[in-house]
Every structure is written in C-alpha cells, then in structure tokens.
Symmetry: C2
Subunit: 142 residues, 2 copies
C-alpha cells in the first residue's frame, strides 16, 4: 500500500483545477489505506476517525475531485451506492453476489481494443464488471 506523496496528489488536483485541502488528502488517504472499494458513506465514517468535523457533502465533493483528477475511480458494479477505488491501473471488478465484496481483477493489455465498436463511435473508456461468487462464498455454497 504505497502512499502517493502529498506533492503528487497536490499536483494532480491543481493541474485539474482543484485546490489541495486537508479534507481531500484525508479522503484520499482513506481510499489508499484500505482498498476495499468503500461507498461514500463508508469513506465518511473512516475519514471522521481522523477528522471528526468532516461532512458528508465534503466527502462527496472530495471523491468527485479525486475522480476528476485521475486519482481515483468511481465503480458501478451494481445498483446501490457508488464505490471508490484508488487503483488507477487498467483492471476490472468482480462483484461477489454472496458477500457483496468487490475485488480488483487485472486485465491483459489487449483487452482494451477487443470490443468491436461500430465505426463512427468514439470510445472514451470502458468498464467490465463480473458478477459471481468469490472463493469464500463459492466454497461455502452461497
């Protein structure tokens, strides 16, 4: 869990037109500390431990700033709350229908271009989410 230095997150934010604030640092630290794809509410609860005054609205604002700055991703594996992920490498998400945990799954490089989009469409990004059961749940038969 290598911590991105303050300099780096500061620079990322400011080149995207955002300010570097203690709250944004804190929210980012929460994401990096435990990469379990927390929801905004879970980030809020964790961030409050170090910064009791932080508000939910700020957590949403910070997460949005981090996503727009390329420091985190918003993950949409199911209906329900959005989840957040500081892993910026190309990867996809496995959503366990048993325990509702989300796992990162690495993607081979070539997959990026494997989807045959018809001509005229301009692809910006793509997201693959896999649903099923994680090893724990698969073996206990959920």
């Amino acid at each position: 869990m290598k911590k991105t230095s303050n300099i780096q997150i500061n620079e990322r934010l400011s080149t995207s037109g955002f300010r570097f604030t203690p709250q944004r640092q804190q929210v980012y630290d929460v994401l990096v500390a435990k990469r379990d794809h927390p929801t905004a509410e879970e980030v809020f609860i964790r961030a409050k431990r170090q910064m009791p005054e932080i508000s939910m609205a700020t957590v949403y604002n910070c997460l949005d700033a981090l996503v727009r700055s390329g420091l985190a991703r918003q993950v949409t594996v199911d209906r329900g709350a959005a989840r957040f992920c500081p892993n910026m490498q190309e990867h996809c998400h496995f959503y366990c229908d048993g325990c509702h945990r989300v796992f990162d799954v690495d993607l081979p490089e070539k997959d990026s271009s494997a989807v045959p989009v018809p001509r005229g469409f301009r692809v910006d990004r793509f997201e693959i989410s896999i649903h099923g059961n994680c090893p724990d749940c698969a073996s206990s038969g959920k």
Copy 2:
C-alpha cells in the same frame, strides 16, 4: 422487432415462479416495441398509454419479474436510473456521454472467457459498458 408470443412469455414467467398478468405483458411489450433502453419511469409513461391504471410500483415489479425470468436485462451504464433491455443475446452497452443514449454492441463469442479471473472465483455473468460518443455526437463535437 419480432414479438415474442404470449405463450412464450407466459411460460418463461411461470417456470420462474411468476404469474402471467396483463401488466407484465404490457411492460414486456413496451420494452420490445422500442429498444432504446428506457428507465423504469419511461416504461411507466409508455405503458400508461395502453393501460392508464398501471402504477409505478407495478412497473418495478414487472421489470423485476421479467429480469428474473430471463426475458429482459437490467442495464447499469451509469449512476442514475437503471435501464432495461429485452435483448437477451450476448452483447454489451455503449453509453454516449453526449446524448446519453445507450446502444447495443455485439460481442464476439470468445470474449466471454477472455477475462482472466483468479482461481476459486465462480463467474455468473459479466457486463461490459463502454463510454464515449456516438457517431452523431462525435461528429458535432460534444
């Protein structure tokens, strides 16, 4: 736009433990009539034209029954309302960030197994969503 016969939808529903009702037929007909990935609310508005008494709660119930019976899919391309799709062939979705329309994109067979899920994980299904611009929006520079 071939219409699945009543017999077929009836059978699909009942083998999944659901009853065949006029509302479920109507909701299914709406999906098949215009395959533009409507939200529950859009389905509601369209269904009301033929069946003015139908309620929003029923639309949600019917969509759920159709999805669980394998007659439709719930599509989650972005935050915001879920969308519904009666195309049960293997395909993925292209979400245009310009006009917010959703397009079906066919997938080559092999893609199903292309994602290298670690051992122990049991894959049930997967979803690929592509974001970008459709030809209309790409050419007009949105």
